[in-house]
């Protein structure tokens, strides 16, 4: 297992967020070091997706501070598009652009945001497609691939932008059981290479294998924030225990 380096890549301090009257996040603080892999879990509606989207400013929060690689996300002066370009994100439903070929999906961000030349972008795209095992599919449209293939493309797309860290929001929960592993395998490899990752997931096998820390959320609060061994050994909160027992039985 990797070591946990020490300089902070993502730092959240007392983040709170409301939708109108309804408080989705309450006072959430945590810290992800460079090279660290964090798995976030918790019941549905507990605010996991919202939390992770606060990291690259896809959701605005009303209180607290989020700092990514030294830049404050909430600061109105921050150039958000530029920050986001270097924070890779992978969604539950892949969110490939259906009207573009796989190659175009992988190059458009490089060309329009990073201002790379078309040739350079295509070369990079080809290299990363090969890496996720999908070189053959470059000319197809997303609708022509299986879910597992689409999610691997989505990971490659994020990697094309040379991200300094990656966010995953339940990347396997929309997949057929057979396809979950082909995606998890890519993620395990990424983790082993030392990519900083924050990953919402219920795949406890994956968490066991690569996570340095596990965060457990309930009702908008971070209830547990423990190392993997502590978490799977003796999770301290009752709620987390109940949750684990439900997820792991049968």
């Amino acid at each position: 297992m990797n070591q946990v380096p020490n300089s902070a890549m993502i730092e959240m301090r007392n983040v709170s967020k409301w939708y109108g009257q309804f408080q989705v996040l309450t006072d959430c603080s945590t810290r992800v070091s460079k090279g660290e892999v964090i798995v976030v879990c918790g019941p549905s509606g507990s605010g996991k997706s919202t939390l992770i989207k606060c990291v690259n400013g896809l959701e605005v929060f009303q209180q607290g501070e989020v700092i990514v690689d030294g830049t404050s996300v909430g600061d109105p002066k921050t150039d958000l598009p530029r920050l986001r370009a270097h924070v890779g994100m992978v969604f539950q439903h892949f969110e490939l652009f259906p009207h573009m070929t796989i190659t175009d999906n992988l190059t458009i961000g490089q060309i329009k945001v990073l201002r790379r030349s078309k040739e350079e972008a295509q070369e990079k795209a080809a290299r990363l497609l090969d890496r996720v095992g999908l070189k053959q599919q470059a000319h197809k449209h997303p609708g022509q691939l299986s879910g597992g293939q689409q999610q691997r493309v989505a990971i490659a797309r994020a990697l094309c932008m040379d991200p300094i860290c990656m966010l995953f929001d339940e990347p396997t929960s929309a997949l057929d059981p057979e396809m979950i592993n082909e995606v998890l395998d890519v993620m395990v490899e990424l983790a082993k290479e030392g990519m900083t990752m924050m990953c919402v997931s219920h795949e406890m096998g994956f968490a066991r294998k690569v996570a340095h820390r596990v965060i457990f959320m309930d009702q908008g609060r971070i209830i547990e924030d423990a190392t993997r061994d502590e978490f799977f050994g003796t999770p301290r909160s009752e709620r987390a225990q109940l949750f684990l027992s439900k997820i792991l039985s049968h």
Partner: protein, 221 residues
């Protein structure tokens, strides 16, 4: 007049009908392209977080959608020259009126189209580092347009039929041409039946295209 239709006048009046049909087609094309362009801008305004802009756009759309087209045509034709002091002519007036009027309808379609693009897609675009403009242009509008293509075309069929209402200002479209020919040869029934046939064939062909598109989309998704 049972059974004594005289369709020979149709041949004599073909030049009449052809000029009328030309104008009908031109009006449809201009109003469709202009209407979609303007309608898309209106839709962006309606969805914009700038409240006064959104409200202005929504007023425009709702007013246009509550008045019969004939009335709008008459209004533009009669009142605009009174205000600008510059006459516009029936055909130009029709082109302007239809573009502005149809924009309200295309706006609602494009708004639905933009909203039909999932929040996930919008988030994915931003997550890639796109600005608002880039995200609209590269991710949202192409999908909105594709999702709505059948509806846009269906509205165009409605537009094509509505061009018949320019009779109100004396611009000569297909129906008007048929009527004029009908009057000058005193064969109105034959002329109108013939016009109905032309309308039907053109609209039906277009709606056939729409159906094909819908099937292809349903298959792809």
């Amino acid at each position: 007049m049972h059974g004594d239709f005289d369709f020979s006048v149709l041949v004599d009046s073909l030049p009449f009908l052809w000029t009328g049909l030309q104008f009908t087609l031109k009006l449809t094309a201009v109003a469709m392209l202009g209407g979609i362009a303007l309608g898309t801008l209106l839709a962006l305004a309606r969805l914009s977080p700038i409240a006064p802009l959104a409200r202005a756009a929504s007023w425009y759309v709702n007013i246009m959608r509550s008045i019969p087209l004939v009335m709008v045509i008459l209004w533009f034709f009669l009142v605009i020259p009174l205000i600008t002091g510059k006459p516009m002519g029936a055909e130009n007036s029709a082109l302007v009126t239809f573009t502005l009027f149809e924009a309200a309808f295309y706006c609602e379609i494009m708004r639905a189209g933009i909203q039909s693009v999932s929040r996930g897609q919008v988030a994915a675009g931003y997550a890639m580092g796109f600005t608002y403009g880039q995200n609209m242009r590269l991710v949202i509008l192409p999908q909105a347009f594709r999702n709505m293509l059948p509806v846009l075309l269906t509205q165009t069929i409605v537009l094509f039929q509505d061009t018949s209402l320019v009779y109100a200002i004396g611009a000569k479209d297909l129906l008007k041409a048929a009527e004029v020919a009908g009057k000058n040869y005193n064969r109105p029934v034959e002329m109108v039946i013939f016009a109905a046939l032309i309308y039907f064939v053109m609209c039906y062909s277009l709606s056939f295209v729409v159906k094909r598109l819908q099937q292809r989309f349903a298959f792809k998704r």
